[in-house]
């Protein structure tokens, strides 16, 4: 440790002194046999426990041990061998459902405020049922354009800055902020209340069967918030082999950067199946799709852990003590602070830092003409055959490439690229499905995009964190390419199967 060198003058000992010390060591080591070798440590530890019991019995009094029972009862249900996992799935389904239902209105509000034509007038009519006051009838996007026009700014400048950089930011904020601001407080509540270790407890046997460490369930849970954070949380695993497995498989849980994509697709396509009948049923189906993709992620985590622990990272799962902390009533203010400032704003800032230049790049790609066709069209045209093979298209693949620094911007990028092709400037929430359908999206595209969103190379931050935590370029590369390869195989398999079964050309 760095402190060890501080404050002491390290005088090299003389040969005689060194010899005296070594004699001492030899004598001490020899004692080990005299006093029972291995047994010595056991007795030493036993003496600690015995004394701890003595002291406790003198200093601690139990008044009414009844209160313990309540927590015991709660755990009897929440960590029940049969009920535990379904209850856990139900709990997470509720969290996802609340996120999906709750994110809609604020998302539309932010879109109206930041970029819709006519500002908030559409939002006011739809959700409040009243026309908006005149001052709300202009979005920031329109106001910026007016300002630039007033300043006689050249078209390329307002295009790059407003239609590129600003629109990129506006999309990220309106798509990402609401789900995060709803999901993170609920997640932090589960963490602070003490439920997360129960999840690890419930899943422990599965991970053990997969040859991995039970605490991997904990780092996996942290991955829901952010995979980079999940990978750092893998430090709680002591065995290097199991830690590496946990790090490499962390990306198989969708992080918060990917949830908005999943939520948007699930709401539009799966929820849209029954949109005519009722909004409630639609949200339930969308939730089902999200839970489904999370379950797929967990299953893949277990399968890949299993495969790794039988091939590259062979070994026995190590035993560990998992402490089930008492359920604690979380401090509301602290939850809000942690989830909104530390998590939501932190993740949003990171996304915005990436979205601003990405927006500019997207605008440039859409507006640089090469032989009468934009650069974006060239590139997406080039990627199209491969995208089609995966059940996607060239634009989606291009979006995933642009979004390597941060997965948050996948959907905004897809939308901006489509819009730039149709020469439309903006659209409102309900039209999103129309825009995607116009660009040839089907249920197959939606399924494959959700799959690919779950299974592809991790974002730049996660790759960097993997490198820092493993200290190995090889494992980092493996961690980046292995999920991508899995994603390509999975999407191609699904796309081909669906096309063969429905008699479509492959």
């Amino acid at each position: 440790m760095s402190e060890s060198a501080v404050g002491r003058d390290q005088i090299p000992a003389s040969p005689e002194a060194t010899k005296a010390a070594e004699d001492l060591f030899r004598h001490a080591r020899g004692l080990s046999d005299v006093i029972g070798g291995e047994r010595f440590r056991d007795e030493l530890v036993a003496s600690l426990f015995q004394r701890a019991e003595e002291v406790t019995s003198m200093a601690v009094q139990h008044r009414k041990p009844k209160a313990w029972q309540r927590v015991g009862n709660l755990d009897r249900i929440l960590t029940h061998p049969v009920l535990g996992i379904p209850l856990m799935a139900l709990l997470f389904a509720v969290v996802f459902w609340l996120t999906i239902v709750g994110a809609n209105v604020p998302s539309a509000f932010l879109a109206g405020l930041l970029m819709a034509e006519g500002g908030l007038s559409g939002w006011c009519l739809e959700y409040l049922g009243v026309p908006a006051p005149a001052m709300l009838g202009t979005s920031l996007y329109e106001a910026l354009h007016m300002l630039f026009a007033f300043l006689h700014a050249p078209g390329w400048l307002s295009g790059f800055l407003i239609d590129g950089v600003y629109l990129g930011l506006a999309w990220v904020v309106s798509v990402m902020l609401p789900p995060m601001a709803i999901f993170f407080p609920m997640f932090t509540f589960l963490e602070d209340s003490g439920y997360l270790p129960r999840v690890a407890f419930n899943l422990d046997w599965l991970f053990k069967r997969a040859g991995a460490h039970g605490k991997q369930a904990l780092s996996m849970m942290m991955g829901f918030g952010c995979n980079a954070a999940g990978i750092i949380a893998c430090r709680v695993i002591d065995s290097p082999r199991e830690r590496l497995i946990a790090i490499l498989t962390n990306v198989f849980v969708p992080c918060n950067g990917r949830f908005p994509t999943l939520i948007a697709i699930a709401t539009i396509f799966f929820g849209g199946l029954v949109a005519q009948t009722s909004g409630f049923a639609a949200s339930l189906i969308a939730t089902g799709a999200i839970v489904g993709i999370v379950v797929v992620g967990v299953v893949i985590t277990l399968l890949v852990s299993w495969a790794l622990s039988r091939t590259l990272l062979r070994g026995e799962p190590s035993a560990f003590i998992l402490e089930l902390p008492p359920y604690r009533r979380p401090n509301v203010l602290r939850i809000l602070y942690t989830s909104l400032i530390d998590r939501t704003l932190f993740v949003l800032m990171r996304a915005m830092v990436v979205a601003a230049p990405a927006g500019g790049i997207i605008w440039l790609m859409a507006n640089i003409d090469l032989g009468g066709v934009s650069l974006a069209t060239h590139v997406s045209g080039f990627l199209d055959p491969f995208g089609h093979f995966l059940g996607l298209d060239g634009i989606i693949l291009l979006a995933f490439i642009i979004a390597i620094p941060a997965n948050e911007i996948v959907m905004p990028t897809v939308i901006m690229l489509y819009l730039s092709q149709t020469r439309m400037l903006e659209l409102e929430g309900a039209e999103l499905g129309g825009l995607l359908a116009d660009n040839g999206w089907t249920m197959l595209t939606a399924i494959c995009l959700m799959l690919f969103s779950l299974l592809h190379n991790p974002c730049g931050t996660t790759i960097w964190t993997t490198w820092r935590e493993t200290g190995s370029a090889r494992w980092t590369l493996f961690g980046a390419l292995m999920p991508l390869a899995l994603g390509i195989v999975a999407c191609a398999a699904v796309a081909t199967a669906v096309r063969v079964l429905s008699g479509l050309p492959i």
Binding site: M1, E3, A28, S47
Partner: protein, 264 residues
């Protein structure tokens, strides 16, 4: 509460020092305080409350994966607080335990605070005993007293202090209760106004003779070593790191080395 007080001080002068801090406090080395404890005892909450920092807290064991550092001031003096990873013991070779052990041993903190969970005192004392073998400058912070009360657990802090031979402070770190007492006690130990005389468990009976003999030999060779008995245990187990630290003079200077040099 303490945390708030100190933060207010920060705001008034902008440098993390109270407005009336003397120039000595400005330039002197801060007192080094280590914060040890079992996982999930509210150690990070204590840390945050004392330093006014926002180290993330969570209700699961092993949450603090990196060592966090913060500062606070008390009566115009600077304190540097190091939040060690939560461990149940210092005996095994896991990374967490090594970090915690090495810091207490080599980092030479002016005081080590062991945060214990009032609802699981018996299990937590294990670590307290191990820390007090290494250092006598120790304060035990019995946290989560509110939770203990709810569960019908009464902890007799005076009795505990008497049995352990070290200062014991009860706290409810979540709401800031007892933290000013904790800071005062830390300061008293740092300044030698309070001298803990830890009473660690006696060594296993069968081994006590040979161990005492070894302790004498160690003391003869390293007169300024504070924790000879703990070193003896480690040497019996053949701890390589400790041997190296003794040879290099990192732990204590050799008596023989000094006389050897005088002779040459």
């Amino acid at each position: 509460m303490i945390g708030k007080l100190f933060r207010k001080n920060c705001e008034t002068c902008g440098s993390g020092l109270p407005a009336g801090a003397s120039s000595r406090a400005l330039f002197s080395k801060p007192h080094l305080i280590a914060l040890a404890g079992n996982p999930n005892t509210g150690k990070s909450t204590v840390f945050n409350a004392l330093t006014g920092l926002r180290q993330h807290t969570g209700n699961w064991a092993g949450k603090t994966v990196a060592r966090a550092e913060g500062r606070f001031t008390h009566t115009g003096e600077n304190y540097r607080l190091v939040d060690l990873p939560g461990t149940y013991s210092l005996l095994s070779a896991s990374t967490d335990e090594e970090i915690a052990r090495d810091f207490i041993l080599f980092g030479e903190p002016d005081c080590t605070v062991v945060v214990v969970d009032a609802t699981a005192l018996e299990r937590n004392l294990n670590l307290v005993f191990q820390v007090m073998e290494i250092t006598s400058k120790i304060v035990v912070c019995v946290n989560l007293l509110d939770e203990a009360r709810r569960k019908g657990i009464d902890v007799d802090l005076d009795r505990l202090s008497g049995e352990l031979g070290v200062p014991v402070v009860g706290t409810i770190a979540g709401s800031g209760k007892g933290l000013d007492r904790l800071v005062e006690t830390i300061a008293a130990v740092v300044h030698g106004q309070l001298t803990p005389s830890p009473r660690p468990p006696a060594p296993p009976e069968a081994a006590s003779g040979p161990v005492e003999d070894l302790v004498q030999r160690i003391r003869a060779l390293y007169p300024d070593l504070q924790n000879a008995r703990w070193i003896a245990y480690r040497l019996i187990e053949g701890d390589y790191r400790i041997r190296q630290a003794l040879l290099s003079g990192e732990l204590a200077s050799l008596h023989a080395a000094e006389s050897g040099e005088a002779a040459s």
